[in-house]
Structures are given as C-alpha cells and as structure tokens.
C-alpha cells in the first residue's frame, strides 16, 4: 500500500447566492489542494470558518464531489475529475465518519447505529433487513465496550448525550474496521470534559489500531495537543502543513488574523 490518503490538486467552487446588492459570485472553497497521508497519523485540519476544512474532509469520502483533481483512499479512487470513482463504496466502507451534528440515526438504538458500520462489508440484502450474525453482534458490542458505552446499547441514539453520540460514531467506525476516521468538528458541540474524552478516544484508536485520523477543529489548542500533524487552510489553500509542535504564533496570526493572540494562544 502506497498511502492511506492521497489528494491531488482538488478544486471546489461554490456559487455564493446574491444577497442584497451583492450579486451572486463563485468562490473557491478548495483551490488546488494537495496532500498525502502515508502512515496512520493524526492530522488536525484548522482554519477560519469558510476556509474549506469541511469541504476537504467531506470530499475525502465523496460526500462532496469536487470539480478537478483526484482523491485516492487506500488505493481506491474516491473521485477523479468531478466524478465519483467506481469503487467509492468500497473506499467508504474503510472510512469512519463523525460529524459535528451527530450523524447517528436518532430513532434507532445505539446498537443498531453501530451495527450500520457493517453495511459496506456484508451482503447488501442482509444489510437491508438488518440480519446481523451472532459474531457481528458481538463485534458491535465489543466496539461499544471499547468506547465505554456498551451499557447503553439498547437506548435510542437521540436519548444519548452529545459526547455519547460521538463515541457511538467512533464505535461505528471500529465496527467498520475503518483504516481512516474522518471527523468533522467532532467536539464543537460538546462540553470540555466530553470533548476531551472524544479526542482521547481518537488518539487511542489511532495508536492502538493504527487507524489514520483526520479531524477538523476550531480549537487550535486541541489540534496542537491531540494531533501530530497540522494542515491549515485559508481561503481554500493549504498555508501550513507540518508537525503540530512547530506551528507557531506567527503562522496562526497569518491564518486567523492578528486577534488570535488573546483568543487561542496559551499554555496547554
């Protein structure tokens, strides 16, 4: 295997709707972005709102189709030149997705939600009717146990706290046997304690199961603490790609503007 993720000059343009006197105009969410992940590391994607973090993350699983460029995950083409690859489903099966807005299905039990991680790897009709085997059920429970919420397996997802739902999404990724976890602002709606547990869990999955993690974060301090590599985006371009510990205040000022000092910089 050459690399986990390979992104080559991906561009995505959105049309900004006309507002008042300003006419509609295109704006580049991603502007010829390229990067690669060759070993299971933890990449923190940072950048101001609208810099293209989420767009980049979602294009990795083909939830967003870009205009140009190529996205390859685990040697499978997710998308190329504005079209989803033929084996995009196979690629997705090995990627876990965690979203800020808790993308568990609220009315289904936590167990069923985690079991949905099997969909990409079992017979589609078995998945359609939810006929999990005994081994699969045990695997789901083991994953829930791993993230520390096995006792809530029978509970509806929408009765769980935000932190528990995010841990459920991580369990779903473990059930998927994901080689890569994509987390889109996973802690943005969580209290600090829950947020720390979710981030620690992502570190744990990365270190113990050798799963690559790409996580978009608003909190620069979280990115510096929990990630080993940081990609910073500004206006759709990568402006920093390097180790977390060499990201300095000067770069942050360049990314976020000069007011960053008071808001984010501090001892961790």
């Amino acid at each position: 295997m050459s690399s986990l993720v390979e992104v080559q000059s991906v561009t995505k343009t959105y049309v900004q709707k006309a507002q008042g006197d300003t006419p509609s105009r295109p704006f580049k969410a991603l502007d010829a972005v390229s990067f690669a992940m060759t070993k299971p590391e933890r990449i923190g994607l940072i950048g101001p709102s609208g810099s293209g973090k989420s767009t980049l993350l979602r294009s990795l699983s083909g939830l967003i189709v870009t205009e140009t460029g190529t996205v390859t995950v685990l040697d499978k083409t997710v998308q190329s030149a504005g079209r989803l690859g033929e084996d995009v489903r196979a690629a997705r099966a090995s990627m876990g997705m965690i979203a800020q807005s808790f993308n568990l299905v609220g009315r289904l039990s936590l167990f069923t939600n985690a079991a949905l991680g099997l969909l990409g790897r079992i017979n589609p009709w078995r998945g359609f009717f939810g006929l999990w085997t005994v081994e699969e059920k045990q695997r789901v429970m083991a994953a829930l146990d791993h993230v520390g919420i096995a006792e809530r397996a029978g509970q509806r997802a929408n009765t769980l706290s935000g932190g528990q739902q995010q841990r459920g999404a991580i369990a779903r990724a473990i059930v998927q046997d994901a080689k890569l976890i994509l987390a889109d602002e996973p802690v943005a709606s969580l209290d600090p304690v829950s947020a720390r547990r979710v981030m620690e869990l992502l570190v744990d999955v990365n270190e113990r199961q050798k799963v690559g993690v790409i996580v978009t974060l608003h909190q620069v301090d979280y990115a510096r603490k929990y990630c080993d590599r940081i990609l910073a985006l500004k206006a759709g371009k990568i402006v920093y790609d390097g180790p977390a510990d060499t990201l300095g205040l000067e770069q942050l000022k360049d990314i976020y503007g000069s007011e960053i000092e008071s808001a984010y910089w501090g001892e961790i």
Binding site: L63, M95, M97, S101, N103, V105, L119, L182
Partner: protein, 270 residues
C-alpha cells in the same frame, strides 16, 4: 443633532400603491361573493324557516330512533363492521402503494425527471373523489365492498404519497450521510437513514387517513359498495326516518370511537 432627528422620525406609512392593493383585494373578494350569490341560491335562505312545519315533521321521527328490534340493531352493527373493514383494507393498500410512490416523488431521493411525473400522477389520484372512483370500480368488480376498498385505496394513495413525501423531504440529512459514509447503498440510506426518521409521522398520517376513510366508506354505500351506508340510503329512500336516525347514531358512535382511538395513538407516536 439628536433632537432634530427625533422630530424628523416618522412612523412608517402605507404607500399609495399598498393602499390601492389592499382595497383591490377587498373589492375582488366582494365581487367573487356577489357573482356566486345567485348560483348558490343564497337568496333562498329564508325558506329554511318558512317551511319549518315540514322540517319539524321530518325531525319528529329523527328524535325517536328505532332501536326496538335487536336483530335489526345487530345487523346495523355488523354492517358498520363491514364498513370499517372496507376502510381498513382501503387504507392498508394505500399505505403499501404510497410508500414507493412517496419515495419516488421526494426531491431529495429521486431525480427530478421521476419526481415530476409521479407527483402529477398522485395529483390525479388525489383529485378524483372516492365516489367517482367507486362508480368506476363497481363497473369493474361489481357491486359490493371490494369496489369501495379499491376506491379508497386509490384515492388515499394519492393523498398519502403527498403527505409521506413531504415528510421525507423534511428529514435531517446528517444521519443519511452517516449511513452513506459507511459504504451503504442508496437502498440502505432509505431503509436505515430515511424510514426511521419519518416512521412515526407516516404512521400518524396513515391513521389520520384511516379515520377519514371510515367516514368515506359510509358514503360509499350510496353507490352500492355495501356496508352501513347502503342500509342508510335504503332507509332514507323508503322514508323510514326512525331507522335512519338509529343508523346515524351507530355511525356517529363508531366514527367517534375510531377518531378517539386513532388520535390517542397518534399523540403517543409523535
């Protein structure tokens, strides 16, 4: 400076064009009412109390419902049961048909070249009254409850497909993306991402249509679709108003019970 500004500030006033528009709308409403006055024979309204002697003679039988013979009453209840059976099957068939049609007419599930024709087809089904559909089915399958079942099924398919698809179009996209991101197929997205979200609402809509089907099934007796409605109209035609009154009471009680039960279930669902 602030003083001069204060005196200059005026509350907003409707412009001339806004005023004209308001008066225009009222004028149009008045015109429509006046034009339809004659056709609807609103001028004949006084006859409602001018012929009060006839009305009271007619109503005299109504206030003495005929429950004297138990076999007859039991027959009413059995026929009411038949009518409810028609409503049940009409609704169930319509739900089964409405699910695929609803998904095909949801803009967030199906492509627009499918959505448009399916929606128009549902519009047609919905716009044709059960009674009209019923007469067609009486020709096709003969007199009897089946014609009523099919009429209700077809009409309600149009209604439910619209209600169902509106629910589908309002679902939260995040869980669906969650299913897609695991490598699931489009069908998996619908079964695991969409249906769990719309399930309670769909059930509630189906129960609501069952309530109204129970009422419609009564009227379907008029065109020979059997059940309590047919007995009702037979007795109206033979001027047997004491029996008509008894039948009406059976219908009101049954429909009320169905309404109460169904809305209690619907409340718990949502």
């Amino acid at each position: 400076m602030s003083e001069s500004r204060l005196t200059a500030l005026e509350p907003p006033r409707a412009s001339l064009s806004q005023k004209l528009l308001t008066w225009g709308v009222w004028l149009a409403v008045g015109l429509v009412l006046a034009l339809s006055f004659k056709g609807a024979q609103i001028g004949n309204l006084p006859s409602l109390w001018q012929n009060s002697a006839n009305t009271s003679a007619y109503m005299r039988d109504y206030v003495h419902p005929d429950f004297s013979s138990w076999p007859t009453v039991r027959m009413y209840i059995e026929q009411m049961g038949l009518t409810i059976a028609v409503a049940i099957w009409g609704t169930v068939i319509s739900v089964v048909l409405a699910v695929p049609f609803a998904l095909l007419s949801s803009a967030n599930i199906a492509p627009s070249w499918i959505v448009f024709p399916v929606r128009r087809l549902m519009d047609v089904l919905r716009s044709v009254n059960e009674l009209v559909l019923g007469t067609a089915f009486v020709v096709a399958v003969g007199l009897g409850p089946l014609a009523g079942v099919l009429a209700l099924a077809l009409h309600n398919t149009g209604v439910l497909a619209k209600l169902f698809s509106e629910a589908v179009e309002a679902v939260d996209n995040a869980p669906i993306e969650g299913v897609r991101a695991t490598g699931g197929t489009r069908l998996h997205e619908i079964v695991w991402g969409v249906i769990p979200q719309v399930g309670p609402l769909w059930t509630s809509f189906a129960l609501y249509r069952f309530e109204s089907s129970a009422r419609s099934a009564t009227v379907l007796g008029l065109i020979g679709a059997g059940g309590i409605g047919q007995i009702l109209f037979d007795n109206i035609n033979s001027f047997n108003y004491a029996r008509v009154s008894a039948i009406a009471i059976v219908i009101v009680v049954a429909v009320t019970l169905i309404d109460i039960a169904s809305s209690a279930i619907r409340k718990r669902l949502l």
